[in-house]
């Protein structure tokens, strides 16, 4: 069953010029249809202004479509009565780590959501302990958020969402303001939650290296959904991605460049190991005689299988 489903979703807003006359209509999201299954790890890609954040805000009823429908756990976000249920089911983590933490003590901030939901006191504490443990932030429970690193603050924000017992977490560029270590820390934390708790994760980002772990990738441009597929499928289209102002991992780019030079490398290479194996295959296949290959006791197919085994995250 799908946890999130968009049916012909459109979102337009009026923008008033400086003189206050003639409002201009901006189509932030256009005719988006998508279905996200429970328990998946989904990535939404797109450059700044492609409509990905606007789409994300529809997923927990912070915005309501001006055309079409958004279903969250079978609830229509147009229904005013269900807005709090929707937000409990689909939690959201934002970009700026400072501007989403309400309390001056970590554990109290994590309790903020359950307090709003009217959860009894004992249960709140259970949830706070549990969420802090799952995000690895239990040691910092009495700290002030101001003393934490960016990655730690985002983990507190994730714990705050988890304490509401959501089915789905929507992360709107949670790593855009972090350094590489912080980014790694946050992505690791949500991947763990996705695996161990079965929480659906929807990660909005423009960092390609965060996308390779996703089950499914959506690419947005000018408010439309323009590509959809597994990371490998998406990264097989290096040139199209560049046209969409997106980056691809450097190893994918290198493989692509060599392929253009006539080397027989498969499209959509995502890891260094895969790449190295592909190059070795070419060397052994091209320059080395068959006897040599036999002497090495390997054949190309075996090696390919080995490459897959080395990269379990991709399969």
């Amino acid at each position: 069953m799908s946890i999130i489903k968009a049916d012909n979703l459109n979102y337009d807003y009026l923008e008033y010029g400086e003189d206050g006359e003639k409002p201009e209509i901006t189509h932030a999201v256009r005719d988006v249809n998508l279905k996200i299954k429970e328990g998946q790890f989904i990535a939404i890609l797109g450059h700044n202004g492609s409509g990905k954040s606007t789409l994300a805000k529809h997923m927990n009823a912070l915005l309501v479509p001006t055309g079409g429908t958004m279903w969250v756990d079978q609830m229509d976000t147009h229904e005013d009565d269900e807005v709090w249920d929707i937000r409990q089911r689909a939690g959201m983590v934002f970009q700026n780590p400072d501007n989403q933490i309400v309390s001056s003590v970590v554990e109290e901030d994590v309790g903020f959501g359950p307090e709003n939901l009217g959860v009894p006191t004992d249960e709140i504490w259970k949830r706070v302990d549990d969420s802090l443990r799952k995000t690895g932030m239990i040691a910092y429970r009495h700290h002030s958020p101001n003393k934490l690193s960016g990655g730690q603050k985002q983990r507190v924000a994730i714990a705050g969402v988890m304490a509401m017992k959501p089915k789905c977490i929507i992360m709107d560029e949670p790593t855009a303001m972090l350094d590489p270590n912080g980014r790694h820390e946050v992505i690791q934390a949500v991947r763990d939650l996705n695996k161990s708790e079965g929480v659906t994760v929807i990660l909005i980002t423009h960092y390609m290296e965060e996308v390779i772990y996703a089950d499914n990738v959506f690419v947005m441009d000018e408010g439309r959904l323009v590509m959809q597929g597994t990371p490998r499928e998406i990264f097989s289209h290096v040139d199209e991605l560049h046209e969409l102002r997106l980056d691809v991992p450097h190893v994918t780019q290198l493989a692509h460049a060599l392929r253009l030079k006539g080397l027989d490398i498969p499209e959509g290479i995502l890891s260094i190991d895969e790449f190295v194996d592909a190059i070795m295959k070419i060397r052994d296949g091209g320059a080395v005689s068959d006897e040599r290959k036999q002497a090495l006791g390997e054949n190309p197919e075996e090696r390919e299988n080995k490459a897959d085994r080395e990269n379990p995250s991709l399969t």
Partner: protein, 283 residues
């Protein structure tokens, strides 16, 4: 117009329980006209370091020299120094305050005491060089997109005609295209104006492509100071510092280990491509 740091140490709250060395005995030279990268993880002292370059922070011990003059010497005009060493902070768009773009860019030149006419000339030139379209000059800076705001903020420092331009993570928070555009612009400026550029970054990939000298900071100390390819050959030590070499370095080392004779110093995609084709005998 070289800057030289001589055994600079900076200590927060010296003599108290909160004492912390942000910089420990750092000596370095930033020669004229070079493109220099400073890299290090958060808290490695790189932000403290760059604030010493234009006299916003005073070393607890040691000396900072600009053109062989001690900037903390008696009667040294540090305000004037800041016009020569332009510093662009992280997220510089948050310092914009004027009613329109061009007036904001004029703020620096105005502080320099330039005439109205000269200020405008400087501001227009700077805005054009960072790629801000003329149609935006009279708009409010708050109406622009994130990337445009950042360009305007960089122009605000550039308009002072500094000899040295220091940028603290100028690409933070931008999307890949925005990042490439800003870095391209900065590299262009460096060539066009022939100025020294100091780029603080987290990304080895960015640095690998542009700089000719790379300084690596770790726990307030200078860990490396050499051309990038030399620094990246220490990729195992970089990892211990919580940093990583560019992906290319790992690929080339992996290929070499498997017996392919490639150049392990290749750090950009183009270099790697060339070297692999060569090693495979395809060129």
């Amino acid at each position: 117009m070289s800057i030289r740091l001589d055994h600079v140490t900076y200590t927060y709250s010296p003599g108290t329980a909160y004492e912390m060395h942000a910089l420990k005995d750092v000596s370095l030279e930033l020669p004229d006209g070079h493109f220099i990268g400073i890299i290090g993880h958060t808290g490695s002292g790189k932000s403290t370091l760059i604030q010493h370059l234009n006299g916003l922070m005073r070393p607890t011990s040691g000396h900072v020299y600009f053109n062989d003059e001690d900037i903390w010497g008696e009667k040294y005009d540090r305000r004037n120094l800041r016009f020569h060493v332009g510093l662009v902070f992280q997220y510089p768009e948050y310092q914009l305050f004027e009613t329109d773009v061009i007036t904001d860019v004029c703020f620096g030149p105005k502080n320099q005491g330039l005439s109205e006419e000269d200020r405008m000339k400087r501001a227009e030139e700077a805005l054009r060089q960072v790629g801000v379209d003329e149609s935006l000059f009279r708009k409010s800076p708050f109406e622009l997109s994130g990337g445009q705001k950042r360009r305007v903020a960089i122009a605000g420092v550039l308009a002072m005609n500094p000899d040295v331009l220091v940028l603290d993570e100028p690409t933070a928070g931008l999307d890949p295209m925005g990042r490439d555009e800003i870095l391209g612009t900065v590299a262009g400026l460096q060539k066009q104006r022939g100025i020294t550029v100091v780029l603080v970054s987290h990304s080895m990939e960015d640095v690998a492509e542009y700089v000719d000298q790379l300084i690596v900071m770790n726990h307030g100390e200078k860990a490396f100071d050499a051309p990038p390819r030399e620094v990246f050959s220490h990729y195992k030590e970089l990892e211990k510092m919580g940093l990583a070499a560019p992906q290319m370095t790992y690929i080339m080392h992996a290929l070499k280990e498997r017996g392919l004779d490639v150049d392990v110093h290749a750090t950009t995609i183009e270099e790697a491509e060339e070297s692999i084709l060569h090693a495979l005998g395809r060129k």
